[in-house]
Symmetry: C2
Subunit: 134 residues, 2 copies
Amino acid sequence: MTELDTRPLPRDLFHDPDCSEHAQPIRVGGKWTAVVLRCLEDGRPRRFTELRVPLHWITPKVLTETLRSMERNGFVSRTVHDENPPRVEYALTALGRSLLDPLDTACAWARAHTPEIADARESYDTDGGVVSRA
Amino acid sequence: MTELDTRPLPRDLFHDPDCSEHAQPIRVGGKWTAVVLRCLEDGRPRRFTELRVPLHWITPKVLTETLRSMERNGFVSRTVHDENPPRVEYALTALGRSLLDPLDTACAWARAHTPEIADARESYDTDGGVVSRA
DNA sequence: CTGTATCCCGAAAGATACTG
DNA sequence: CAGTATCTTTCGGGATACAG
């Protein structure tokens, strides 16, 4: 590993860390991006309010920010229906669906190693840090 | 998707979002965790100062926090050599190496879709948001 | 050399109220 | 219904100085 780019990561930025010019941690979005992805993965478009429910009534401000960021990155589409009352529907794009793949991989890893990590933490916490001397 | 856990995510927490009890964005660590992983992926143990170089002279405080978090999760081992001056070496554990797999998947995705995302952003920014009416 | 101890800052997230 | 407008809080991250 040679050179790393240390510029800060905006919330809606993603990165290819293998590319030496952008060798930063990957971040596809803010705290809620992955969860929104999950909410939409079945392909059915959802309305704004409809999305708030599974997100534990996330505040409209934060949901808007999340959706705008995802829209700008091309992960979701936003469709405005000219009705009264207004109806707006969000759906995953092909690019958004493609994100489910790496997400699933990460989830699988987390699921598989959860116990291992819990163990590591427990011994670290009780023993006050595992020190190996040599 | 039914219930989501909305508790805030500490910096050193990871999650299995398929598990309804922990349906939060995945985060294996802070800003530098993935980069440290990359620095150690060749298997050679590195010293504290040695790690700072490829991380663009990250401040000791932040590096310490990152390494402690990774150590607690069982991603890296910390070996203290009883010498003078002191020598401490960090190396990936088996668990840490296993993290390279999902990381690579994410990197591959980022690399593959970078142009697509750049395009989406450009049209979003120039057109002031893509509005589709129906 | 390998860290701590403080102080500080900005971005992101949340609370609350209001609007077309 | 689908957001905006403000305000406030939280916290990760950085700068600097110092210690064992």
